[in-house]
Every structure is written in C-alpha cells, then in structure tokens.
Amino acid sequence: MKNMTSRLALLAGLTAGTIVLASAPDASAQELQITGPLAGAPAVRRLRLHRDGRFDIAPHATFTLLDEFRRNVLFGARANYHFTDSLGAGLFGAGGISYNAGLADELQTKAVDGRDCADNPNTLACRRTAVSLCRGPNCLEESQLGSIVWMLAPQLTVVPFRGKFSFFGAFFMDADISLFLGPAVVGLNERAECTKGECADNFKLDSRVTGTATFGLGFNFYPTDYMSFGAEFRATPLSWNTSGFDIAGPESNFPDDAIDTNDRSFHFNPMLTVFASVQLPTAINLSD
C-alpha cells in the first residue's frame, strides 16, 4: 500500500512535470525572445561610422528655387566636424551670381521696352508705374530686381537616419539623411529705399545684410569610406523686396509712392545644394 502510494505520488509528479513539459515549447520560445542573445542588442552592428570624429569638407553649388524675378547660383563650401555619428557642427558659406527668370525678361520686354515710358511719360500706364518700373534697356536687372549675393550660416547637423540602398539589387551604397539648423547672415542686393516724391527718379540697387535662420534636409551617399556626395534642400526665410515694386504702404495702403520696408514680403527662399564631400581622417571606424 505504501509502495502503491509512493508510485502514485511519483506518477502524479511525473504527470505534472509532463504537463509542464508539454506546455514548455511555446513558453521557452517566448522566453528566448525576451532574454535570448538578441534581446537588447542594437538594431545595427558593425556599422561604418562615416561621420563619428571626422571632418567633412564639401564644396558645393547652390541653386535658389521658385524664384520670381532673379535666379541665384551660389558657390561655396560647407565644413562640419562630427562629435558623434549623429551630431555635428559647422559652417556653410556661399556667394555667387544671379540672372533673370522668365518673368523678369517678359516684364522688361512688354512693360518697360514696349511702353517706352522715357518717350511717352504721360500715358496712363507710364504714369501709374512711374514708381514701380524703371526706364531703359536692361534696367530691371541693373537697378531694381533683388538678388541673394552671399550667405554665411553656422549650423548644427543631426543625422537621425542611417542606412544603405541598392540599385536593382546589384549596386549598394551607404546613405544617410541629415537635418540641419542654424542662424544665417545673408547679403542681399535690393532696390534702394526712397521716399514719396523722389522714387520715380531713384532706381538703384543697394546692398543689405540681414540675419535670419536657415534649416533643411540633406541626402548623403557614401561610395567610399572617405568620399561622399549628395543634395540638400534648404530654406532661409526672410522678408525682402524681390521686385523693387511699390506694393504696400503703412497699414497696407497702396500706393504710397515710396519704397521701404512695407514693400518687403516674406519668402522661404528654398534652395537646392549639390555637393561632393571629403571626410577626414580618411580612416573609418566601425560600431560594435
């Protein structure tokens, strides 16, 4: 009887164990997911750190977008030092040239040359546009339309996205997406201010330096360990008078026959930068 009881107890223990065992596969698999060797592991191992502890020097060409009257092409360089692979600081500098957009040429042809207000000053159109439109060949470009001349921007760069891409599954390249932000000093050419009564005879460009912010997004591709190329989209919001027109006066009165700060309008000044970059030192580190 005693043996029977013992055997039953042993059988009960084994049965309980078997039940535990039978339910173990799912539990153990789940356990592996929580405490297995990959638990807590980084999403990426042995990552090539293209930025960590390196300088990044990039000559660039920058093109303004959505220009109303003058297109600007700025040439310069960007220099950054990256404290980590995802954070850097540096300087963006550019200066360049500008040329007429289609609308400026059309205005020059139809509204300036076509009206010939120098010889027909008393026509209605010439009288009404005396303050806003210059007179003479190429006068819009030379004396009235605004342009961006140079730009200097210390900036912080954050690199939240790092990865790679494939072209038809045959060609692979490291890539990252960076965000940048900083103050900016911008040099402009803009129609000189004038007061009521003198603006019709006062068409000339003046230089102005203004402060603002700049920010944007960059796409960077790394064909080698020490060279990259890419493109940046940048906005540099500021108010300026791109046309040289009298478009508003105090309390939005029009016309006030004066060219002043009331005639400036807000622009984001979007730009596209294309660059090639060298990373120094040329040796690259790997993450864990």
Partner: protein, 322 residues
C-alpha cells in the same frame, strides 16, 4: 515519503524542462535551417563545394586535437585528410548574398492603391492643389503599370504675388484653371534600401520613377477682358514623368512623396482685345474665336504629391531566401 517522491518527480520533470528548452529551441532552429536549406537555391558553381567545407572543418577540428589527426594519418595514410590551409584561406568565395534580405517592399503580383494630395511647385501666379489617386499593378518587383488621376476644379487659387505684380506693373498675366487629369503610367523601381533611425528602429524604403501619358481638362481664366470673355473646359493630351520615394511602415502600408511633371500644350487668353465689328454688326471682342492667343503655350505643371500607398494582398510568403 509520497510527498518526497512526488517532489523528486517534479524536480526530474523540471530537469527535463531545463534540458529540453534549449533542445526545443535548437529543434525549431534546426527545422528552420532545414527548411531554408531545402528551399535554398542550388549554390553557384563558384561557391565552395560542400566537400571542401567538410574537409576544412575537419582540419580545424584536427588542429584542436593534432595528436589524433597525426595518429589517424599514421594508421591510415590513404585516408589522411591533407588540406593546404593557406590555399583554402585564400580561396575566392562568391556565395549568393544580398545586402538587403527579405525586403518588406516585395511588389511582384501585388496591387498598389495610392491616395494623395498635391500642391503646385512651379506656378507663382495660380496654385492648382487637389486630391488624387493612383492604382498600379506590379508585374515584376521593379516594374508596374497603372493609372492615376487628379481633381482640381474649385480648388485653383490665385496668389497674392499675381495680384501685386499685376497691380504694380499694370500687366495682366494669363492664368488658367485646371479641372482634372488622368494618366496611364509605367513605373520603374530601381532602388530600395533600409534606414536605421538613431540605430534603433529600421524601416525600408524605395525610390521609383514613372512616365505616363493621358488627358487634362483646363480653361483660361479671363483676366484681360473679363467683361466679354468666358471660357469652357477643354481636354488636351498630356504626358510627363516623375519620381518619388516610399517609406514602409508595414509590409502593406507606406507613405509616399512624389514629384510629377505633367506637360501639355495650353490655350492662353489672348492679351489683345480685338477691335471693330463683324459682318453681323457685333463687336469682334465678343467673338469667341478672338479670345485665345494664336499660339499654344507649352506648360509644365510640376506638382508634389504626398500620400499613402496600400499594397494588396496585404501579405505574402517568401519562397526563397532573397
């Protein structure tokens, strides 16, 4: 005593569980590995043959116990494994490897439904925002055919810039309104990849390009002589191309951003007002044949399209490692 024996039984079972757990995991992995091996494509000819790999493995094992290998070679010289380790190490291996394995963005044989909103990128005088939708079918992972359409009516908006420029310079800029367009498209997806967000979260993306042709309904807006002129919608052929990026949140849902250029020959309002009267005694300014500019204007309607892509069916099964 019975309790003691039951406890022993439980401890025995616990021991079984503890020893079984790794075994089970191993079994699962083994099954997976076997499945993968069974489904794996035949190795390329320049891939190392299995026999060599076994030999190398044997040699490495022998290194760990050199005495045993030497003993084996002494006893049975015929079957002694002789491997030139340097030559084996210098061997060129070219196994089939993919930098992005098991990509989320498998598209072959799936439909893509793509609702989006669009804004005009290149017209400072009038904006043509509107909703749109695309439908594509992927015949290959990198090739699709489909259609898309945009709706603009009642959403065209003149800009302040247009008003200010017209007023200050006393010029009328011919502007047009859009009603709708539809296009048949061919889409090419040459590039895909993945990004890690601050090394924590990985998402997949792809780049695509497309070209298409279709029809577009537009009309000029009367600016020069609005007292006499009214324009009806008319349909023009359109063609164009574009490119975009998709970022996948799940295997069937992604966000997309596309830049698209719809090109067409546009009718613009005649900047001149006809003078005189016609044979019926009516002013020529009221004759609709004088309302349009004599030449058509080549127009690029560049728009940014931001939306979602939903792939159907929602899921699929990988048959190969790639």
């Amino acid at each position: 005593m019975a309790i003691k024996q039951a406890t022993v039984g439980l401890w025995f079972s616990v021991a079984l569980v503890l020893t079984a757990a790794p075994s089970l995991a191993q079994t699962e992995e083994g099954k997976a590995a076997e499945g993968a091996a069974a489904e794996a494509p035949t190795p390329a000819e320049d891939t190392a043959p299995t026999g060599d790999a076994t030999a190398v493995a044997g040699e490495e094992a022998g290194d760990a116990d050199a005495g045993s290998l030497e003993e084996l070679c002494r006893i049975d010289p015929e079957n002694c494994v002789k491997v030139d380790m340097k030559a084996a190490a210098d061997r060129v291996l070219a196994p089939d490897m993919y930098a992005v394995q098991q990509i989320w963005a498998l598209r072959k044989g799936r439909f893509e439904i793509n609702p989006y909103g669009s804004v005009t990128m290149n017209d400072q005088f009038v904006a043509h925002p509107g909703p749109g939708v695309g439908l594509n079918y992927y015949v290959l992972n990198w090739l699709a055919g489909g259609v898309n359409g945009n709706f603009y009516q009642e959403l065209n908006a003149e800009s302040d810039f247009n008003f200010e420029t017209s007023r200050a310079a006393r010029v009328g800029q011919p502007i047009t309104e859009y009603q709708w367009n539809v296009n048949a498209n061919v889409t090419l997806v040459p590039a895909y990849g993945k990004f890690a967000v601050l090394s924590n979260f990985i998402f997949h993306y792809d780049f695509y390009f497309l070209a298409g042709a279709g029809a577009m309904s537009t009309r000029p807006k009367a600016v020069v002589d609005p007292d006499n002129r009214t324009f009806d919608w008319s349909v023009k052929p359109t063609w164009g191309f574009g490119g975009g990026i998709r970022i996948f949140f799940t295997r069937y849902l992604s966000a997309m951003l596309e830049i698209r250029d719809y090109m067409f020959l546009e009718d613009l309002e005649n900047p001149s007002i006809a003078s005189g009267i016609d044979s019926r005694g009516l002013p020529l300014a009221q004759d609709p044949s004088t309302w349009l500019a004599p030449d058509k204007s080549f127009t690029n309607n560049v728009q940014a399209q931001l939306g979602l892509s939903v792939f159907l069916p929602f899921s699929w099964k990988y048959e190969l490692a790639k």
